[in-house]
Symmetry: C2
Subunit: 329 residues, 2 copies
């Protein structure tokens, strides 16, 4: 895979994906002494960046194969994106999601006419289920990360960021399967001054551990509020790319993720789901290790139920209050 796959995905997504805004806060920039740009993929179609990959993958399938339908598994956002892309191409979709998928994701998938199959997170039978259904219904598997076009589609986020702020010194992205990080790293090809950092919950540090080990390693099923990042091991193609191109992976505790959600609400007036706030948590966590210059932070999604959101911010907001007050806002 190269940056050319990303450029092809950019073409395919033209007029389809929303060119989401880069949001900056003068107050935050002044306090931190550097420009921070938040890429608001919570305002993307289907509420997360995942539509970029799902649509790119469906666009790349040959029409005969595509018309028989697609299947994918995910904690929610890829499933939602796949259901949406299938709806757009008018082909059947089956999505395999955990039983405890947030209501907001479940309802929207239902509304798009996709067939929903649930599994128990603890058994880890997800991939077997996908293959079983794919075989039985003769449909194509669209992985959430381990696919060239899914990675290329995810890379279009960073491509837009670089177009808008060409002198970015770093981009931070959340890491689940690793597709977004890999796409970002590919999009940054040739930007010699730009470093790409992945950010993972400490509780789901499979990519961090795998990079240290020099090979993909598995961890026990993670328990994290960042439901989109609870992977047990990195996906193969992304890991190959990430091990060559990432500047590093930052790991952040659960409290820092909730604080980043509160910070995004307070200073950017943006609602993020936990997985979507992880990159900002990484910014604060690794602040002293980042190169000088403007930093891009990918807010990857905003699909969260109000009750969970309210609960997390209730807990985290008082901790923010102890920080220095904003000069502006």
């Amino acid at each position: 895979m190269t940056v050319h796959h990303v450029l092809r995905a950019v073409e395919n997504l033209r007029g389809v994906a929303v060119r989401t805004p880069m949001i900056s806060s003068a107050a935050v920039n002044e306090r931190l002494g550097r420009a921070v740009w938040v890429k608001a993929e919570n305002q993307q179609l289907t509420g997360s960046f995942k539509m970029r990959g799902a649509y790119s993958a469906l666009a790349a399938l040959n029409p005969g194969k595509r018309s028989r339908g697609v299947i994918g598994a995910s904690s929610g956002n890829h499933a939602l994106a796949l259901a949406w892309a299938a709806h757009l191409f008018d082909v059947p979709a089956i999505v395999v999601v955990p039983e405890d998928v947030p209501d907001v994701k479940r309802e929207t998938i239902d509304g798009l006419g996709a067939r929903v199959v649930t599994y128990d997170r603890r058994t880890g039978r997800r991939d077997a289920l996908v293959h079983q259904y794919a075989y039985r219904h003769d449909v194509t598997i669209v992985p959430s990360a381990d696919d060239t076009w899914v990675i290329a589609g995810a890379g279009t986020v960073a491509w837009e960021m670089i177009q808008e702020v060409p002198d970015l010194a770093a981009i931070l992205v959340p890491v689940g399967g690793g597709g977004l990080a890999a796409g970002t790293a590919l999009a940054a090809t040739g930007q010699t001054e730009l470093k790409v950092f992945g950010v993972e919950p400490v509780a789901a540090d499979d990519t961090h551990r795998s990079l240290q080990a020099g090979q993909r390693v598995s961890i026990p099923q993670p328990v994290t509020i960042a439901d989109g990042l609870g992977h047990v091991e990195p996906a193969a193609i992304p890991f190959d790319i990430n091990s060559r191109l990432l500047a590093g992976v930052v790991t952040v505790p659960e409290e820092a993720i909730a604080e980043a959600m509160a910070y995004l609400w307070r200073h950017y007036r943006l609602a993020a789901e936990p997985s979507g706030a992880v990159a900002l948590a990484g910014l604060f966590h690794a602040f002293d290790r980042l190169p000088d210059g403007p930093v891009g932070v990918v807010l990857s999604g905003g699909n969260v139920d109000w009750n969970s959101y309210r609960h997390l911010l209730d807990t985290a907001m008082p901790r923010l209050e102890t920080h220095a007050p904003a000069v502006l806002h």
Copy 2:
């Protein structure tokens, strides 16, 4: 006043104001059968559109007069904007705010070095206080709405909206003193197909009543969650413009304002303060009376404390759930 004042303000604000994004939701547009564009002034410097007017007014003062300082009164956002603009021009500022101003506004004003004078909302002694301090300290009064350059600055919001979506059929804006509505109506000059609607809380319908009476009338001190719109009568210059140029004023109940805040969180992933959500409440309320075509909605600000926000959304969110589910998100 004419559209040329707005164009002058556009020039003055270039490189100063954030060109805030217009946010759209495919899900909402599909459900409503029309394109809705939310102008996200909650992401403006100081957290509301008010900086546009305050900065424009200070830029228009002669430097000698400006250097002696400025004073202004408001429920919070204009005070915040004035404190910020004065900080930028390095001149003293006094701001007169109600005792119950939200903490988030109060703290930021303090942080900017402005002198804060508080008054009791119920006594209505605000204007007397402003004149007393202005006289005693020899500083210039910058009204929150009743000023040519404040109105012109406010009009730059709509000017950007029209630049971005030239075929807008309607723009809805919240009405407090009426400056934003007046600026919007002026910015729309020559757009023969574009109608501008003001939106007020039923509980603070001074402009609505004044338009019906054909002259400015006073109402008792309003009690509304939209703390920025609780005016007892329209400001003079804006009322003159609004009575000539507005297509109408829509009034909305308190519950609808909280529902609009919840809707903005859920479908646009944006945090609005109550006053900032009033225009969207007006969209739903007057939906059948709007001309066909794309509609612009000004989300005028996002300065709200988490506790108030959480409380309002806790109450309103279950009412949203009874609406038809989104096709997309």
